[in-house]
């Protein structure tokens, strides 16, 4: 059941990735740059055009992204017509950096890996843009919102379409910027402004990793272009590859909210819900996974870095699951879920060629059902007049039917119930985990159980039980402009897994880029799937048992220590404060002290010295002519004596 296709027999398979020659972009591919240019144009028009564009701006933005989505589908059809090993298209736009031996062109590379990302970003992005037309309808700054959304889509597309690390870094920074602008969109709220700053600063720490990695790549390989680097990857020393891998992991951890740089993701929920859906569920946070999988050739040479990736994935998988289980804010709970699911993807990527493909597969299915969940949560929040605390929800399934049904579709997908999409991708990851290490496989299954728990908790608290909302709240279903994207995404949550696997053959599609290794397990795969399902159902049952009856409107205070910790996001803010913030303040104060007392002291001291000596020297100006005469005589005598001493011998 782990996929179909010739690559997936029950026996061991090993397919090495192929460095596909970059075909020149002709015919239908010649407008490859349009993919980035369209949303960039939308952003430019909306942000630079100003208030004039207020009326039609949002629709223009939707059109730009929809246009990019349509073109992406056309590109996919074009690529399907090419042979399986030859699907990479390259388009050089211009030479950007040429300094001595270092060249970095602005060049785009479309291959099997990039196109799936492009499709995810543009299609889900277009749906979220349409949804935002309804969600942000009453916001006076909606034009700016759509401009920032378009900017984000453009930057993310640049990230996945770049053909060299430096251009990827440009897109990387661009999505970080767009994320900052969108999280802090309601900048008059101090919490939102602080959250935006926190996200940006923590992202920046990851960016240091990426820039150091790029420098190291250039020093080692002499180039930063992907294909050239990967062709030479086998020749570098293992320690160099390990350092590059660890630095890339740092970058991915920052962007994808993995341990130890995960604290910003929950605060990022301050942004409007479409932002959380697009950036912090479907796309930006997956950029780290893209980076790791794209750099597979580098990671293949270093077991240490791969293991580090895997460990970070496992830690974050559990961390996110625990946090999501205890948060009462629906968006924060979903954020914890995102953290956990990306932990799954990072875990799969850390398994090496065994897991690269499945990481991307899960990324795609997750993008669809997580966007569905977030947009559904947004619909609930919108209907409950911006209430986000799940303890004040309850029994909403009777009032918001479409939202409820679409949410349930995504819920079944995320916990991994067959035949919904999450089942296929998550079970592939669990299978791959068992191939590498039994302990990791058990961890993956346990996390799936916890996923079942917290998602069921969320569903019960929101949609079932008795209504706990105040009397003056009138929850209502959202408008079609919001529910239609929900329905489309729900269909995606149900069928994307099967569609990608059986009809689209996603594993075979991606294999030329990532490579694939598979070995059979000592027990039949069906047993694994049933076992996972059983663990998930146990999690579901526990949640039903705990939350079916009374859900207290105020969170109970006498809870065990794990719940307390999870409610405080595992004290990540406190830990960051002690480990990083306070030492930075101390160092900063020390430097300020050195600057004020030391450097200023030296300069001011010099000035004081000059002034003081001038003060003393001026007392020689006595106005007394005879003392001047004496000084002259004394000087003359001195000169004579010196001359005599010098000339005498």
């Amino acid at each position: 059941m782990i996929g179909t296709g010739a690559a997936r027999m029950a026996d061991a398979t090993q397919i090495a990735p192929v460095i596909q020659p970059l075909a020149e972009a002709t015919g239908v591919f010649s407008y490859l740059w349009l993919l980035i240019a369209l949303p960039l144009l939308g952003a430019a028009v909306l942000l630079l055009g100003g208030r004039r564009t207020n009326r039609w701006g949002p629709y223009f933005a939707v059109l730009m992204v929809a246009g990019a989505a349509v073109y992406a589908v056309v590109l996919l059809v074009g690529m399907l017509g090419l042979s399986a090993d030859n699907r990479a298209i390259g388009q050089t736009l211009f030479e950007w950096v040429f300094v001595g031996g270092f060249t970095a062109p602005v060049a785009l590379q479309l291959d099997q890996l990039s196109i799936v990302f492009v499709l995810l970003i543009t299609i889900v992005g277009a749906l979220i843009h349409i949804y935002s037309l309804g969600y942000m309808e009453h916001d006076p700054d909606r034009r700016k919102f759509f401009g920032f959304l378009n900017l984000f889509v453009a930057a993310m597309l640049l990230l996945v379409l770049a053909d060299n690390y430096l251009l990827l870094y440009v897109g990387w920074e661009g999505v970080g910027l767009a994320s900052y602008l969108l999280i802090g969109f309601w900048q008059y709220k101090p919490s939102a402004a602080a959250a935006a700053k926190k996200a940006f600063v923590m992202n920046r720490i990851g960016d240091v990793g990426l820039s150091l990695a790029i420098m190291l790549i250039f020093v080692t390989f002499g180039t930063v272009v992907f294909d050239e680097v990967f062709a030479m990857a086998g020749e570098a020393s293992e320690s160099t590859l390990t350092w590059i891998g660890l630095l890339l992991l740092l970058a991915a951890a920052g962007k994808s909210a993995q341990f130890p740089l995960q604290a910003w993701l929950l605060d990022a929920m301050e942004g409007p819900t479409p932002v959380s859906a697009l950036i912090h569920a479907a796309t930006m946070v997956t950029a780290g996974v893209y980076l790791i999988v794209r750099s597979g050739a580098i990671y293949d040479g270093t077991i240490f870095a791969l293991t580090a990736v895997m460990v970070i994935g496992v830690i974050t998988m559990f961390l996110g699951a625990f946090i999501g289980s205890a948060k009462d804010d629906i968006k924060k709970s979903l954020a914890g879920s995102t953290m956990s699911q990306i932990g799954y993807m990072v875990l799969a990527a850390g398994l090496g060629p065994v897991g690269y493909v499945f990481a991307i597969f899960h990324l795609l299915t997750h993008g669809v059902f997580k966007a569905n969940l977030f947009l559904g949560a947004g619909s609930v929040i919108h209907g409950m007049h911006d209430e986000q605390d799940m303890r004040r929800f309850g029994a909403l399934r009777k009032v918001m039917v479409v939202t409820w049904l679409t949410f349930m579709a995504a819920y079944l997908a995320i916990i991994g119930v067959p035949p919904f999409s999450g089942f296929w991708s998550k079970d592939d990851i669990i299978h791959a985990a068992f191939e590498v290490n039994v302990f990791v496989g058990v961890c993956a299954i346990l996390a799936a159980g916890i996923t079942g728990f917290y998602m069921t908790r969320m569903v019960i608290m929101t949609f079932f039980g008795k209504p706990r909302w105040p009397d003056d709240a009138h929850p209502h279903e959202s408008k079609p402009v919001m529910t239609i994207p929900l329905i489309i995404l729900a269909l995606g949550s149900m069928f994307t897994g099967m569609a990608l696997l059986f009809w689209g053959d996603i594993i075979d599609w991606l294999t030329p880029v990532t490579g694939l290794e598979q070995s059979p397990l000592p027990f039949p795969t069906v047993l694994l799937e049933i076992g996972t399902l059983v663990v998930v159902l146990i999690g579901v049952a526990i949640a039903i048992g705990m939350y079916r009856k009374e859900v207290p409107v105020e969170a109970p205070q006498d809870v065990n220590i794990l719940t307390k910790a999870a409610r405080n996001s595992m004290y990540d803010d406190a830990i960051n404060d002690v480990l990083v913030v306070q030492p930075t303040y101390s160092v900063s104060r020390a430097f300020i002290g050195i600057d004020n007392r030391g450097i200023d002291g030296v300069v001011n001291g010099l000035a004081a010295f000059v002034g003081g000596s001038g003060e003393r020297l001026r007392r020689w100006q006595t106005g007394f002519a005879r003392s001047y005469a004496l000084a002259m005589v004394g000087g003359a005598v001195l000169v004579v004596v010196v001359l005599a001493v010098v000339r005498l011998p």
Binding site: T622, G623, F624, A625, A629
Partner: protein, 99 residues
Amino acid sequence: MSPESYVILAAVLFTIGTVGVLVRRNAIVVFMSIELMLNAANLAFVAFARMQGNLEGQVIAFFVMVVAAAEVVVGLAIIVAIYRSRRSASIDEPNLLKY
């Protein structure tokens, strides 16, 4: 008489002139002492000219005399101007150019 004695005489005169400049309070006497110093220098120049057997020292002595004359003119004019405004010829009195 050896030319060396003239040089010694010049040195003695120079010293007397220097002491006069430093010690005396009347501006005219200070000027006289300065003249004495200049004349001592002249004597030394001429003595050295004789010792060296050429006339360069005597030529320089002429120059010195001209310069001395010009300097006396200017100096005495200043002293007369100061005396007219202050009714005193002491060089200790005008000490306004001080800190």
